[in-house]
Amino acid sequence: MNRLNLRTILILVILVTSLSVIYQNLRIQLILTGFTLFLLFSFRISKHKLHRLGHRLLSLFKLVLTILILQILFRRSGEIIWEYSFLMVTTEGLNYGLIASLRFLIIILVAGLLFDIPYYDYLLAFRSWKFPFEISFLVATIIHFVPIFNTQFKSSMEALQIRGIIMQNLPLLKRPVVYLNLLLPVLARAISEIKFRAISLELRGFRLYKDKTYLHEQKLSRLDLIIQFIALIFFLLLNLIKIIQL
């Protein structure tokens, strides 16, 4: 699976996330989550990367759980399963809660997969789809920027720890102030770097010639073509069923 072309992965990711939005069905969401996990685990061979993903999931677990609880508590239609004072858990609330948290989980998993793919692979994939270089460069840069931003933010958190400022020990109302203090310099630094990036691009003759050449090429294997074909057919079929049901 590690040899799958990025174009195939992108197609699968687009189809999975689209189906997740289209279908308000718990069973389909479970299948999609399972498929995303399969895609992720088969793509990430290295144990180190798996460990990192596990860690990322654990740290976001609280957020997924919050979404689940909020959805459960604020949906009041459907059959009542449990009730205490003004709190109520209904079948519809539970259903929507699970669907929303699974959707969120799919987004986290997909983001984890996409952000770990090298920047150059995106340029090659977009080039194969005949995207204008200006657009593919922009998209690839944004995707590339997220992990950099994450690293810088982590580094700032470490700097706080060295100063004896432990986020968990701070009063709840102080925490947003601290995050704001960290976020502004990190963002400002990133924006100021753009100026140097633009100069560097000009010095390299960015868009000076009409056609850009690439050192490597990414060709689709037979497996890629089969997977892309099956995925598209599957996607169309599911949508057709959905339209017929309506």
Partner: protein, 220 residues
């Protein structure tokens, strides 16, 4: 001399089967100046991160002032040691030098006193930073940012200093100021650990020199 850090039978690796340190034995004295050298990738920065509590999950004995590092909270560690990271921007959290040092003092918990303001200004003056106090960090040069971090160290004079490549990016005048500060601290019985891959600075004030080699540390 009392050791501040004691490593015994100590092992650490980012991956289970790829150890960076294996059966390490080391004692770092709390009131002397220790230099640790090593090639690129030998584990110098990792050692600094372990000593400052940024990295955990080691094997073997690792003590900070006779307390097991695992049992100490992040706050406890930060009250005893201060780390100057090699990645110079990684030491800064605020938008301006003034704000950054205020965060060191206030820790989002209290307001600076007159005494704090005086100490801060003195620290900036030593590194000729007065004119950059309110300038955004992203508009400062590497050397100027380094000076902010060195000024911040002065606010932590009673802690044990761990300095990861402290002399890189400094001109000879600033190197001399930093060396003198370390010497002054030593005279007051406050120790420093310097981690560097070069030894182009004066070593007359250094008490012990170690070298990281083959997953261990050897005394030079």
């Amino acid at each position: 001399m009392d050791p501040i850090f004691t490593f015994s039978d100590f092992s650490f690796g980012y991956l289970k089967h790829e150890l960076l340190f294996h059966d390490l034995e080391l004692k770092v004295n709390s009131n002397s100046v220790t230099l640790i050298q090593g090639d690129n990738g030998s584990g110098k920065t990792t050692l600094c991160n372990l000593m400052s509590g940024l990295l955990t999950r080691h094997k073997g004995q690792f003590l900070l002032e006779n307390h097991n590092m695992d049992k100490l909270s992040k706050k406890d560690i930060s009250e005893k040691v201060v780390l100057l990271k090699q990645n110079i921007l990684g030491n800064i959290v605020a938008a301006t030098p003034e704000e950054d040092l205020i965060i060191w003092q206030e820790k989002f918990r209290r307001k600076c006193s007159e005494d704090d303001n005086e100490k801060r200004m003195k620290a900036f003056q030593l590194y000729n930073m007065e004119e950059f106090l309110l300038k955004p960090v992203w508009e400062l040069s590497h050397g100027q940012i380094k000076r902010i971090t060195l000024a911040a160290l002065l606010l932590n004079s009673k802690k044990f200093w761990i300095l990861d490549e402290p002399f890189s990016g400094l001109d000879s005048k600033l190197i001399s100021i930093l060396e003198n500060t370390i010497k002054d601290r030593k005279n007051k019985n406050f120790g420093t650990l310097i981690v560097s891959h070069r030894s182009e600075f004066h070593t007359d004030f250094i008490d012990e020199i170690y070298r990281i080699e083959n997953q261990g540390i050897l005394k030079v």
